[in-house]
């Protein structure tokens, strides 16, 4: 797998670290609703097919990226900065 970092260009998988499901909205820290937080922390989707994931360019620019990846084929459709940016 190769990921095209928006800052560094296309780089080998070895430079990146997987950072989890990017589809679950993270509640605000001021939100003390345990149900919402439990949903975010523990209910992770594990779909076969297209998925939104966080990856960090750990051994590169260290940017956190949002990657649209097919978990079955490892095809990458899109790499961007995390939502909101």
């Amino acid at each position: 797998m190769r990921i095209t970092c928006p800052y560094c260009g296309q780089r080998d998988l070895a430079e990146f670290a997987y950072g989890g499901d990017a589809t679950q909205p993270r509640p605000d820290e001021a939100d003390l609703d345990a149900e919402r937080w439990a949903q975010y922390v523990f209910s992770r989707k594990n779909p076969r097919g297209w998925h939104q994931e966080y990856w960090q360019h750990l051994h590169g620019c260290r940017a956190w990226l949002q990657v649209t990846r097919n978990t079955a084929t490892h095809e990458i459709a899109e790499v961007g900065l995390p939502h909101g940016q």
């Binding site: 070895a14 439990a38 922390v41 960090q56």
Partner: protein, 959 residues
């Protein structure tokens, strides 16, 4: 050269190469493989077989070779089980036979062959069942020595290996006609192309047999095409590079042989290639025939016999008999004859071959035995003759057999496309009824199989679908299917009789195809033998699973440079050399080396730890804390970020002060702890434990970039930028004052947890008054390149105060005495409440982990809580990891109430002390319980005490 045929295309007759085989010196030629050089020197017996120790010769001309295995090199560099057919001859190469003693010609272990009836399929499983006690001492040792392949080298491999990550648009596996043409086509589109060819030359079959390509000699076409490809910047051609595995996401593993026996030079490179498209041009592999004596040296695949003559100018023998059942065997005989090889006949199992072949053989004066098979190959150690038997249907007319004198029997059971790699992702090959071959599975977009591997054949066809491959056992004897594992047709029949009828069972019971050749020449023959006893078709018999690696690969190539001390990078703190010079015992902490203890000459480490810890409490000590994680956090919103990151209140932390910081994970459990120092309204330094430095930095970056995107702050690691030393003990202020004479370090000017930025000898310096040991203490930071200087200066000025350097062991002693938590307590399962820090955590403050730390399971009253443990016997050898249970409890199970986390001998208490996690421990102070060391089966009676052993009021802290 006297022993070579003229006009060979692959050798340079002017460049002799000296090599040795079993200690004897021989001469080969530049371009030879070890196999061709051995054949040219009339060495036909290469080694002995796995079970029966029968002589083994050279069957093939490539990586499909099951028989000609040698050990290359000697001593620690020795590489056992190397295929002589794949090794390029190099100057001074030393090869030796395996599985034989004293020599391959005269092998005492060949006596195994006499016991052959006992070594049938599954002999491991049934012969040595009982008594079990005899397995290890008798069966394993004796049988393993008698049966087996080469010996593993006895020392660490001194050779070097490399690893390369690569990518390309198109990876072509196989550099034969189809592969080169595919590469040329792809390159013409501008694509970035890589071609991996496992042999040391390109051309595939064109390099091994005479052929024409568009009217041009095959070899000329190959040379021209390779030259053309070499001239293109977007093409990379790799020779001696075998694809060994296909993995998810089109990842292909390649092994490139740089030098098969380079003394301590780079030997192999492993490539991990991520191509966008994979083209399999893997060709086809010729299959042998089963007949009695077919394993004798001198029996060779017909294509290999022709290849040795055509490419290397090596006649496979002085008198060659060919056997097959298609047009190609006729053509091979004619080609051999044309190259100057003496062909004594062609045996063709077909009853009515086309007439033109008959005429051409007659013209060439080659006897043609139509409707015949080989009844047996005769010979003691290698082929001396063969019996030709006419067929009646599939039965042999034994009374009409005739003997032929020959030293080589070149056989062909037809070709099978090489589909191994294409099946590594789990697909199975499909049987092509019209051609009688297995074809690769459909792999979808981005994969393509071309040429012979795809079933495309130009010269003639694949031969008769119903060709005879398993010849009748004329007069009895072994008909081999697997040359390496000594599996015979009779073994397949026996396995069938014993109920092993699925091909997967057959494979495991007989070990058919499980050798280093992975059944490249035995699977098809085995399937035909199985289909015969099953009375079914080959398609119905099915195939076994193909798994990587396609060829044997060395561990060296896979680990490459990542071994021994290079397994992981080493991080060295600025003063490391000084610690070593002081005689410190070093210990790894993550990637770092840290001083564990500084024993004086003649002093035991245990004593040194006590001395160091006691001295800190008595006068002063210094410990290197440069390896702690250090993160700079800056920005207008840095205060808010810090407040959200830590569970304890940070809003009130003013500039110029530091505070202990407890970091939770999202799930409410403790992630890490450290110090938060504030230098300015918008500038912080956060420290982490050595172990969690990388994790915490990624965590902060994640939050800043994905969640708290509206906050303006940046985090960056400054772990490598600062050297840091903790100076602790009643005299620490005097030492730091001597280091920084200009500074006012009084309790008023720099109170507990005060921080200050200053200069040490003109270099940036931080002073932080915090304490891990419970003593009056200062952490002094200086820019890393001045760290060694600061360390030396601390020891220098500290002399007047009897300063001692102390290591991580004494540091642990001091923190256990104070009940400070560290890695052993923070094992990812504990909450702030569990370790007695509940009061520190602000209850409603918005911070990471706040919402989930109140979950009912984390609030249960019976959770293990941090306690101190004081043994009744002050010298009790407590061990961390031991379990806690009530006095008199039996064994473990439900009685277990927790475990010991940290243990030390406390000089202050003059006793062993421990920290542990004990169910409801905070409410059980004073109780007597038991520490159970289940491994040593020891128990120790201990008293549960508060986790702070020394100075519970914290008075020493303030000096």
């Amino acid at each position: 050269m006297a022993n070579r045929l003229p006009n060979a295309i692959g050798i340079d007759t002017d460049s002799p190469i000296e090599f040795s085989f079993n200690g004897r010196r021989y001469t080969g030629l530049q371009g030879d493989t070890l196999a061709s050089a051995l054949l040219a020197n009339h060495q036909r017996i290469i080694g002995r077989s796995f079970k029966y120790h029968r002589p083994r010769g050279i069957l093939s001309i490539g990586s499909e070779e099951p028989a000609a295995l040698v050990t290359l090199g000697t001593g620690a560099q020795a590489e056992p089980n190397t295929k002589a057919t794949t090794v390029m001859l190099r100057q001074g190469m030393a090869a030796s036979s395996q599985n034989c003693w004293p020599s391959p010609r005269f092998d005492l272990m060949a006596i195994n062959g006499l016991f052959a009836p006992f070594f049938v399929a599954g002999f491991y499983y049934k012969t040595f069942m009982r008594p079990a006690s005899a397995w290890e001492p008798l069966y394993e040792r004796v049988i393993r020595r008698a049966a087996g392949l080469g010996k593993a080298p006895d020392g660490p491999d001194p050779d070097r290996y490399g690893q390369i990550e690569a990518s390309c648009d198109v990876l072509v596996i196989g550099g034969g006609a189809a592969g080169l043409e595919a590469a040329r086509t792809a390159a013409a589109t501008g694509a970035d192309v890589m071609v991996a060819e496992e042999r040391a030359w390109f051309g595939g079959q064109l390099a091994l047999a005479p052929a024409l390509v568009n009217g041009q000699a095959g070899q000329d076409w190959v040379e021209q095409t390779v030259r053309e490809l070499e001239g293109q910047p977007n093409v990379r051609l790799l020779k001696e590079t075998a694809a060994y595995g296909l993995y998810d996401d089109k990842v292909v593993g390649l092994i490139e042989t740089v030098a098969s026996d380079a003394p301590s030079g780079a030997r192999q490179r492993s490539w991990v290639v991520r191509p966008k498209q994979v083209i399999f041009a893997t060709g086809a592999i010729e299959q042998p025939l089963a007949f009695v004596g077919n394993d004798l040296p001198g029996v060779m695949l017909a294509g290999a016999a022709l290849g040795y003559a055509f490419r290397f100018g090596v006649a496979p023998g002085k008198a060659v008999l060919l056997a097959g059942g298609d047009e190609q065997i006729v053509q091979t005989a004619l080609s051999l004859k044309q190259l100057g090889v003496h062909v004594v006949g062609v045996v063709d199992s077909r009853q009515t071959p086309p007439s033109d072949g008959m005429a051409r053989l007659a013209d060439a004066g080659i006897p043609y035995h139509v409707g015949c098979v080989i009844g047996r190959a005769r010979g003691w150690q290698s082929v001396a003759g063969a019996e030709i038997v006419p067929l009646e249907g599939t039965a042999a007319r034994m009374n009409e057999r005739q003997s032929v004198r020959c030293d080589t029997v070149a056989v062909s059971g037809g070709w099978q496309p090489s589909v191994h790699l294409q099946c590594h992702l789990g697909g199975r090959p499909g049987f092509d009824q019209t051609h009688g071959i297995f074809l690769p599975p459909e792999l979808g977009e981005g994969f393509q199989t071309v040429g012979r591997a795809a079933g495309v054949i130009n010269d003639g066809d694949w031969g008769p679908v119903d060709r005879l491959r398993v010849f009748p056992a004329a007069g009895g004897g072994k008909r081999f299917i697997d040359w390496q594992h000594d599996v015979t047709v009779e073994d397949v029949e026996l396995a069938y009789r014993e109920g092993y009828r699925s091909v997967e069972h057959l494979k495991r019971y007989t070990t058919l195809g499980m050798g280093t050749d992975q059944g490249k020449t035995s699977n098809i023959l085995g399937l035909h033998a199985l289909a015969t006893v099953l009375g079914s078709s080959v398609a119905e018999a099915g195939t076994t699973t193909f798994r990587p690696p396609y060829i044997p690969i060395t561990f060296g190539a896979l680990t490459a440079a990542e071994r021994d001390r290079d397994f992981r990078p080493v991080r060295r703190a600025p003063a490391e050399a000084a610690h070593r010079a002081l005689g410190a015992e070093m210990i790894t902490a993550g990637l770092w080396y840290r001083p564990r203890v500084y024993p004086q000459p003649g002093e035991s480490a245990a004593h040194a730890v006590r001395r160091e810890a006691a001295q800190v409490r008595a006068t002063v000590g210094v410990v290197d804390v440069s390896t702690l994680g250090k993160i700079a956090l800056v920005g207008p919103d840095a205060p808010e970020v810090v407040n959200r990151l830590y569970a304890n209140g940070m809003k009130t932390l003013p500039p110029g002060k530091a505070r202990y910081g407890l970091m939770l994970r999202d799930d409410g459990l403790i992630m890490d702890d450290g110090t938060v120092a504030r230098f300015d309204t918008d500038r912080y330094l956060l420290t982490t434990t050595t172990a969690n430095a990388a994790l915490v930095l990624s965590h902060i970056e994640f939050l800043l970039e994905t969640a708290w995107v509206d906050l303006q702050a940046m985090a960056i690691s400054v772990s490598d930028h600062w050297a840091a030393f903790a100076i602790a003990g009643p005299q620490s202020r005097a030492v730091v004052q001597a280091l920084l004479p200009e500074e006012d370090l009084s309790a008023e000017a720099l109170p507990f947890l005060g921080v200050r930025e200053t200069l040490f000898e003109g270099k940036d310096c931080l002073v932080m008054r915090n304490s891990y040991s419970g003593e009056l203490a200062f952490e002094v930071y200086v820019t890393a390149d001045h760290g060694l200087r600061l360390w030396e200066q601390i020891l220098q000025v500290g002399q007047a105060y009897s300063i001692t350097p102390y290591g991580t062991e004494a540091m642990a002693t001091l923190r256990i005495e104070k009940g400070h938590i560290a890695g052993p307590e923070l094992d990812g399962r504990v909450t702030a409440d569990d370790v007695g820090l509940a009061r520190m955590v602000a209850r409603r403050k918005p911070c990471v982990g706040q919402a989930l730390r109140h979950r009912p399971g984390l609030q249960k009253p019976n959770r293990p809580r941090l306690v101190g443990l004081l043994p009744m016997d002050s010298q009790a050898p407590l061990k961390a990891g031991s379990l806690l249970r009530p006095i008199g409890a039996q064994e473990g199970g439900d009685a277990i109430e927790g475990h010991v986390t940290s243990v030390t001998f406390s000089p202050a208490m003059d006793s062993m002390i421990a920290l542990g996690m004990l169910t409801r421990g905070d409410a059980r102070h004073g109780e007597i319980i038991e520490i159970w060391d289940g491994l040593a089966n020891q128990t120790f009676t201990v008293k549960v005490v508060p986790p702070v052993f020394v100075d519970p009021q914290g008075e020493r802290l303030h000096g």
